[in-house]
Amino acid sequence: MKRYVIVGNGVAASACIEGIRNVDPDGAVTVISAENRPAYCRPLISYYLEGRADPAKIGYRAPDFYEKTGCRVLYGQTAEAIDPAAKTVSLSDGAVLPYDAVCVAAGSSPFVPPFAGLETVREKYSFMTMDDALQLEKATETPKDVLIVGAGLIGLKCAEGLYGRARSITVCDLADRVLSSILDADGAKAVQAHLEQKGLRFLLGDTVDRFDGNTAQMKNGEIVRFDVLVLAVGVRANTALVKNAGGACGRGITVNEKMETSLPDVFAAGDCAEGEDVSFGARRVLALMPNACFQGYTAGVNMAGGEKKLTDAIPMNAIGFFGLHIMTAGTYTGDVYEEKTALGSKKFFTADGVLKGFILIGETQRAGLYTALIRNRTPLEGVDFALIRKTATSAAFSKETRAKMFGEVV
């Protein structure tokens, strides 16, 4: 009987279990879970704060998932080291687990730059885990002035989550625009205007010079008073386990299409891994939930001796703030086509005869057609591109393609 160890207990780990079980119903699977709870939908923590997600319904899988899949979960434990020669994982409680295949699905950790005076701030939080959300909920039981450092996906989702609870929310970022990892200058401007209309205040192109208790002295001179500080500057992939074992790492753990690391029988998946982004043509950390699922499942199948390759991973995000929906995907390179519609704007990027990326703001209907063009690297030659960039419709494809899409089992 094969022995599998999965380090981590998030989405990639759950999908990894499903991948293993698809091939090997009997092998012994051990999951090492740092958090004391079953896998949950991490992006829902902001919806929880907002009161829009029922804490009883944020489990990623059914409550009997581990039982049904026959997994042993070691809660409150972390993996300390992998010994690829002995094929063992040693745990924080001193136990040593032998493996035939191990998957590192250890996620990422908040990155906190060394701010001067940070130790003088009493109420400071990250926003990555359910425990963070519960602490923030408690810290904002009465209305508070909140300062969020970081106007990225995590910082802004946190702002939305706290909106109904906070007296004021100020968001600062060293970048000169919001959501700088997924939006261009135009898009960021539109989203920022929407958020400002809701009452959020932004200090962009600016950062904290030093903290002193309940105040932040900004580089540009302003002094911001706050009760609660949220640090959402960024995240770093948890690569240490593989790196310390001698495995190749870039910004994340280097993986191939089968989610194999450079170490034999050591796999990696999810936010800690750096796999190929086919829209970019190079490896990137794609820290997004669908990718964690795709990678985790792929790793699981291969760990169990099956054959699966992930050959169409791209960055892609669907995110909304106060009713404004934003979708982005791929890489922003090449020729640019922009469409303004009654609902919002769409921007497309094409190069080498294929769609490379898009930014949709407020106009997101059937966007999956665009995403598929990027993932599949569909030659635009056979697509009525003038039509599809206005309206996402399969009517822009050939009759034969449509016959396959709507006349066959897919």
Partner: protein
């Protein structure tokens, strides 16, 4: 498993399937009071260009991207039917971002809804198929391409 297929050569573009779908999922007994004068949010819609029209609804894929991508664990596949748990959905639209068929759209409340083949509403079989005046929407078992 029986799925919905469309034949664009027979589609008249009459949009009746959209109305039948909205009515079937309204839970109401009378079509006029269910739909008259209200915006409708059907789970099937007509697309087309020039003289070509056809109906688009969930393909109930064998390996659905929406199920794997849902950030709320709200979409699952049960006996081949892809279903959304509307009590878990937070309306993030990630499923819309990944569905290559453009088959998903939110309901009036911003929560996702999708074709579940009318298996759980009062119809018991797809209302769009039953109501199509020209047989352009078909509910049958076809073999998986090898």
């Amino acid at each position: 498993m029986k799925r919905i297929y469309v034949n664009e050569e027979w589609c008249l573009g009459c949009h009746l399937c959209e109305y039948n779908c909205a009515f079937a999922n309204s839970g109401m007994r009378d079509m006029a009071s269910a739909l008259k004068g209200k915006p409708i949010f059907p789970r099937i819609h007509i697309e087309g260009k020039d003289a070509v029209t056809y109906a688009v609804s969930c393909r109930h894929c064998t390996d659905p991207l929406c199920v794997k991508s849902c950030i709320a664990g709200a979409i699952r596949r049960e006996d081949g039917v892809v279903k959304v748990d509307r009590t878990r959905c937070v309306g993030c639209l990630t499923c819309v971002l990944v569905c290559p068929y453009g088959a998903l759209s939110p309901g009036e409340d911003g929560v996702m809804q999708k074709c579940e083949l009318c298996l759980t509403n009062a119809c018991g079989a797809p209302a769009c198929v039953a109501g199509c005046p020209n047989g352009a929407i078909i509910f049958e078992e076809r073999r998986e391409a090898q």
